[in-house]
């Protein structure tokens, strides 16, 4: 199976580095972006299989990014990864394939990534 590419969109530099390291260790090819606009540019050029998207970010937030992502690529899988559970009430967030509330334990995030990529492979 070809190596899957994941784009991590996260404004906090430390968290971004942490996710990148952890997911690289899992065997994924990892790209990063610090805000929504950077993410859209990266998606255009690199077509990742999955995007992990923070919501509260400067320049362009995750919800705006999400809508526009779908225009580039309807099939792309998106996981919203935020510290706030309350954005789940936003209809816009329902366009994502999964919603994960940030935690120091990355196992939920990792298993969600795995499930979504397996789904798309089947």
């Amino acid at each position: 199976m070809a190596q899957k590419t994941i784009l991590i969109v996260e404004d906090n530099q430390n968290q971004r580095a942490l996710y990148a390291e952890e997911l690289s260790d899992e065997g994924y090819n990892v790209l990063t972006a610090a805000d929504g606009r950077e993410a859209l540019a990266t998606v255009k050029d690199n077509r990742p299989d999955l995007v992990i998207l923070d919501i509260n970010m400067p320049v362009m937030d995750g919800l705006d990014t999400l809508s526009q992502l779908l225009e580039y690529d309807k099939q792309i899988k998106v996981i919203i990864n935020t510290a706030y559970a309350s954005y789940q009430d936003s209809f816009t967030s329902w366009s994502a394939d999964a919603y994960v509330v940030k935690s120091s334990d990355l196992s939920t995030l990792k298993s969600t990534v795995q499930n979504l990529l397996n789904d798309s492979a089947s």
Binding site: D64, S67, K74, Q75, F91, T92, W94
Partner: protein, 486 residues
Amino acid sequence: MRKATKVASSRRSTKRSTNGQTASETTPTEAAVKNASSTLSNGTEPPASPVDRYARPNAVHYAPTISRGVFARGQESELQQTMVMVLAGGQGERLYPLTKDRAKPAVPFGAHYRIIDFALSNCINSGMRRILVLTQYKSFSLQRHIQATWSLFNAVLGEYIDVIPPQQRNVKRWYQGTADAIFQNIYMLEQERPRFVVILGGDHIYKMDYAKMLDFHLRHDADLTISCTTVSREEAKRLGVAGTDETGRITRFVEKPKDPPTIPGSPNESYASMGVYIFSTDILVRRVIEDVKQDTEHDFGKNIIPRMVRDKDRVFAYPFVDENKTDNHHNGEVYWRDIGTMASYYDVNMDLVSGSPAFNLYDDEWPIHRRSQPGPPAKTLCHGTDRLAIVHDSLLATGAIVSGSSVVRSILGPRCFIHSWADVEDSILFDDVEVGRHCRIRRAIIDKHVKIPAGTVIGHDLEADRQRFTVTPEGVVVIPKGMVLK
């Protein structure tokens, strides 16, 4: 949330210190600064201010209105939790040239109405006053009409009618289909958070109480309710058809089927969708998002509904209850007309001029609201015995003048002027049409601001008419808005 608490606590500290109760040795300002950044000396959080108990910005989801106050007092009404979305974005190509400069719902109808006035009157008469009209092509005329006609709503009471062109909020494209139009307006649903959404087209002539349908939707605990009218199996072949079980639950939904499913216990009839839907909002949002991610036509009839039926959502057929009260119905048939073609447009208009119209404009319990324009009453004039005004079986709008001429089985729009010895029959004239002396006009639709020169003959020689006008297959001559004739 965390942020709000922080602001509140600094406000509390400021207030207390300016009262001088805790800050005897420092100036009020110094105390405020000190208290804002610290907890009390014993290390605990300062007590909450009384205001925290009753003013909670994070509990307000939308701008408060008086009607919501009523709701909060326990007089719960599902009507107040319902939003209407009128889909008025189609191109209306089959009504060309009447849609040359306007969207189909804005096409004039019945002397002084526009097609959309019937659907909007249904909303008002059903008690639904939160309405979004989604437009797309040539929306100016429609927007202007709605502004001039339908500004009846009171924002303080939480009522509105808003015309919304594609905003390209979440995507950079025009509406790709009916379901995409809803998807692109998810933000509007998010702002309002209605429990139910009524979706309907702006191009049908009928009278319907959507509140009765909402009751049905609630009674059946439905995800989606589709208003259906009973048609013969033959007619069903060109419509969206619902196959149901005995309870009315839809088990199959097909567009233009060769072999239409029938109504249980009635083998020669089928349920045809009228394009009037009530959705529970959450399901609607999930289904349009799901659909927009697929390569479909993004159409309710073709994609969303069949998918919901397949996935075992609770989709029900609501048997249309006709509010058109008249003795002129034949065999108990209901009145619902799709103004899809020039022929149906002409026939539905012509029904109104007959002595016993099937559609009742005279029922004060179901008024059809329309734009009221200033202007003098309609007038007829005779100038001696050879210049009589002969007017019968016709509708005349405000300011129309028939001067020494003959108007039979026709509709004259506002300020039409028919000059002496002219002869107009079986025709529909829009606003400000002037017909010169000795003209002979039959079976014509003449759009606004056309001046017909004296002596012109229209509708009597279709071959000649085809040289310069659109002539429908049924032989109706259509003259577009503002056309200049010699």
